[in-house]
């Protein structure tokens, strides 16, 4: 698990702030294993009741899209404004739909 310098691996921390909400990324920390990562996450990121549940994920396990791909990934959504309901104008008489 350790790299050449004997560093503890890096973990990404996700916290559910209350029941009913999803886990949200809050930051990262170093720990030797998952158990310690959860313990450290509790101390570092939930000192003021910020959470009811913690996920920790080894940072190296996360695959991320790259900024160079952002046009091909996200721009096609740009010209499909009809996906938003406000694209369709309702007659004045109809207030809600």
């Amino acid at each position: 698990m350790s790299d050449t310098k004997n560093n503890w691996p890096l973990w990404e921390v996700f916290i559910r702030s209350k029941q009913g909400l999803g886990h949200k990324h809050v930051g990262s920390l170093h720990a030797s294993d998952a158990e310690m990562a959860i313990g450290n996450a509790r101390d570092v990121y939930t000192r003021r009741q910020e959470g009811v549940s913690i996920w920790v994920v080894p940072s190296e396990s996360i695959s991320a899209s790259s900024p160079e791909d952002s046009e091909s990934l996200f721009d096609p959504a740009n010209d499909k404004v009809y996906r938003h309901p406000t694209f369709f104008v309702l007659p004045d008489e109809v207030n809600h739909m």
């Binding site: 698990m1 350790s2 310098k5 004997n6 930051g27 101390d43 900024p67």
Partner: protein, 309 residues
């Protein structure tokens, strides 16, 4: 997508945030690594002077409060090291630079903490100055730094209030207690004003950092705010500012105040403050004493992986 310096500058000028994988100029990256890691080191070293007082706090409640504050400082250091790491540096390299004395941390922690009133003055003035510096950093153009600063700022205001409340309580006490509070203010006031850094005319990093929206206000602007904010708080509890030139200026709407002893500022910065050597020695000892814990944790994690097969 950002690919050139022009695009980067335009993007930042438009108040958009830069994230770790975005292209950024080398200078921007270097400046942020330097600033964020120095900031993290300051949080870590800042625990040392206060940690000394945990066992000597005057009541169980004050002890619990100080313990919580010192724990917060550790947390702030960790948020900031994480933010620095998103720029492609190793945590251990940053820590090594602190331990070897290569990296700087805030000079304020090289002053001695002599009495319980100093713990009050530190929370009130040192954390007060830190908040003044940090609130604009929440809007910093670099996303991870800005997010770390939002967390820090949320927690920091408790630090300032607990410090001020120590001063309030001492000023309600007997003559010796009031003198202790005044003495702490006398010793911490000028070093706190020095926390904003050199005067604008001598500040080497200011203008580029303003352009890059790392910095939002100049050192002197923030220092003036600190003076204007703190003077009435001192007056309100009967403390006297240790500055003969301090007076309200009707025309500017601000307080005029005396000149900072810049020789002292540069001298402490150069490593010759009252506690520079002690702080680094204590930090190094703590790091060395913890070596077996770090090694044992790694060994345990590896053993568990093996037995899992």
């Amino acid at each position: 997508m950002i690919q050139t310096l022009e695009q980067f500058d335009a993007y930042v000028t438009a108040e958009k945030k830069i994230e770790p994988k975005d292209w950024m100029p080398d200078g921007y990256r270097k400046t942020l690594i330097r600033q964020i890691s120095q900031h993290a080191h300051s949080e870590v070293v800042g625990m040392l002077p206060e940690g000394n007082w945990i066992t000597r706090a005057p009541s169980l409640q004050r002890k619990a409060i100080l313990l919580a504050k010192v724990q917060d400082e550790a947390g702030h250091g960790l948020y900031l090291y994480s933010a620095a790491e998103t720029l492609g540096v190793e945590r251990s390299d940053l820590v090594d630079d602190l331990l070897s004395g290569k990296a700087k941390y805030s000079s304020i922690f090289n002053y001695p903490v002599l009495t319980w009133a100093d713990i009050g003055a530190i929370g009130w003035l040192v954390d007060g100055a830190a908040i003044m510096n940090q609130v604009p950093l929440c809007r910093c153009s670099y996303g991870p730094y800005s997010r770390a600063m939002m967390r820090v700022c949320k927690e920091e205001s408790f630090h300032q209030r607990q410090g001020y409340s120590i001063m309030v309580e001492l000023m309600k006490g007997n003559k010796a207690q009031r003198e202790m509070a005044q003495d702490a203010l006398d010793r911490w006031w000028w070093p706190s004003l020095m926390m904003f850094g050199p005067s604008d005319k001598d500040s080497e990093h200011s203008s580029q950092n303003m352009k890059w929206k790392i910095k939002r206000f100049t050192n002197d602007e923030l220092r003036q705010r600190m003076v204007d904010m703190t003077v009435p708080q001192a007056e309100c509890i009967g403390l006297k500012m240790p500055d003969k030139e301090l007076k309200w200026n009707e025309d500017t709407g601000h307080h005029d105040f005396g000149e900072i002893d810049w020789d002292e500022f540069y001298n402490v910065l150069a490593g010759n403050g009252p506690c520079n050597k002690e702080r680094l020695a204590v930090r190094n000892k703590a790091h060395d004493d913890g070596a077996w814990v770090r090694e044992a944790a790694i060994a345990y994690a590896e053993k568990k992986l093996k037995t899992k097969g």
